[in-house]
Symmetry: C2
Subunit: 381 residues, 2 copies
Amino acid sequence: MKPRLLTPGPTPVPEETLLELARPVFFHRSAEFRAILAEVVEDLKYVFQTKNTVVVLTASGTGGMEAAVANCCPPGSKAIGLVSGRWGERWKNICKAFGVEFINVAVPYGQSVAPGLLEKALADHPDAIAVFATLSETSTGARNDVAAFGRIVARTPALMIVDSISGLGVMECRTDDWHIDVNVTGSQKALMLPPGLAYVAVSDKAWAQIEKNGAARNFYFDLRKYRDKLAENDTPFTPAHTLIKAQRASLKRLRAEGIEHVWARHARMASAARAGAKAMGLELFAEQPADGLTVIKVPVGIDGNAVLAAMEKKFGVKLANGQDSLKGKIWRLAHMGYIDQFDVLAALSALELVLLEHGFPLEPGAGVAAAQRVLAGGAHA
Amino acid sequence: MKPRLLTPGPTPVPEETLLELARPVFFHRSAEFRAILAEVVEDLKYVFQTKNTVVVLTASGTGGMEAAVANCCPPGSKAIGLVSGRWGERWKNICKAFGVEFINVAVPYGQSVAPGLLEKALADHPDAIAVFATLSETSTGARNDVAAFGRIVARTPALMIVDSISGLGVMECRTDDWHIDVNVTGSQKALMLPPGLAYVAVSDKAWAQIEKNGAARNFYFDLRKYRDKLAENDTPFTPAHTLIKAQRASLKRLRAEGIEHVWARHARMASAARAGAKAMGLELFAEQPADGLTVIKVPVGIDGNAVLAAMEKKFGVKLANGQDSLKGKIWRLAHMGYIDQFDVLAALSALELVLLEHGFPLEPGAGVAAAQRVLAGGAHA
């Protein structure tokens, strides 16, 4: 059986990147490493669409999020959080751990945060030091309008801090044009690397706040240490340098394709997946879906867990389940990074086959045909 | 030219472990990953010689050290630090960032901390909540008597917290028998993996203090989150799971050899390296050398930086320079992990050849012959 991983992170990694990871280990305090780090940071800036400093942390994406909170928000400060799912709640929980008051602007799972809610929250809380948002809410598949958020926040002293972990390299995300002050992403989604690295783009507005805050609230995630070492193309602590070297290979793919083409490719795959699901008679969970994953409601009468297990066992096709309260209620089909349109067709095909076995009424071929029509240039879903 | 990496981390990684890293990426919330994590944690417990909880952090070793400080030491608490070099100073700097008063028990670089200094410091500061120590001070090559430290600290309420990053899997280190409450190590030294993972063994005495401290001081390094998830063989945040899977392969080597044999092998290599250096007329920097690396003083009249550069350029043999104030003054030759006795001979040979070219008076073959005599079972140096 041929395995196909279509989970929203970790995602598959291109073969040439995997082979980089099998190369002999080299020394990290060397001209070789400094050249690699410089190249990776330049390519990350391109993906982030930023001229800001981009630091590389050896950590999960959550480590990058903690760095944002711990560096930007002093104890007792207040922040507005735009919460549309589990990852928005991650911002809330990190703020709680760091003694930052979190004004919880939450919408029900499946919805996106309307920019008007942010305007109201900022009017009610003009003393907010930061606004936290999520570009692609991986737990529900919802897309948030970060461009609009950024325009609103830019008019205030607050910092716009974004988790773009499953969105960067998938959907349009222009760090500078959208006034994103701190943009956090991870290696294991559209950047096509295994987990282990977090990347944080930090604007001048954010650096000014960080300097004003004074002493760092922690040590390992003290962003100034990374910035200062980056001036010599170095890192303050022993980095996961073989991952950084391998990241170079995956970033070259994105650069060669061109970021607008990368966004368009993901949009097309996402449209195909959505069209396929709808043609099977399934409903989408997110009202404004992101392009990195399609989240499908488990239909009434179908055992969502059993369907996923059967897809994996019979066909090697691995989708992700819902998390926490959504477990068994949604399926999450990823199409980002090194997952291509034909992998999406495979997933839709496997889903059709298993749903038929589970007695769900559908026309065989309806899903894949609808997806194929989108891929052929038809109307987007 | 055949490259040979003899730096004290990152160290070479066995080929079968590197090949694990080139395998396709798999999903981390799966039975497959849970089985891997359980196996890796069991094998880590064996290497740590502990029955305590061992948590796996996706971070540099410094991340593990921060976890120890942030979880065990409340703000305003006092700790005793036994400092014999740059890595002991790392404890001091982390404590400073977390508002922990650091009683600095420091010895000059090259020396080890006498246990009597600890007894006196504990008598002077009976309110110390923790004692920080370094098993193998990688910046100077000094070994510290952690067994003695542990015996002394065990009689007090203080926690014994040890950085064993370049020592574990090299030198005798019995976490439980030596009363080490928090033992921090990293993947990239004797555990034969690239950097990216830190491992922390936490005793019941430490957990009791952590619970007493109440709310965590950070989020990503909140050890209780890792402990609670570990009960389900899981992790709180997306781990560097391909590194964890590869770690399994390297740990199997250590288990197959047996930890006492691993220690004896490193002791023999270290003796050979020391004998070789002395036979070349060189002096060792550390009074009580660790077994993972041999630190050699650059002789008067020799350009230490030029010698290292020539060894690498002409022979592909990479040793490490001194750090900070010791740059150009010492050479650090590592013999740990997947560096074997013949690599040590190669390094001594290359050093002889380059020193001869630099006009240093020595008898060609003196160094390698002396090392060889140790390997053949002669007197240890």
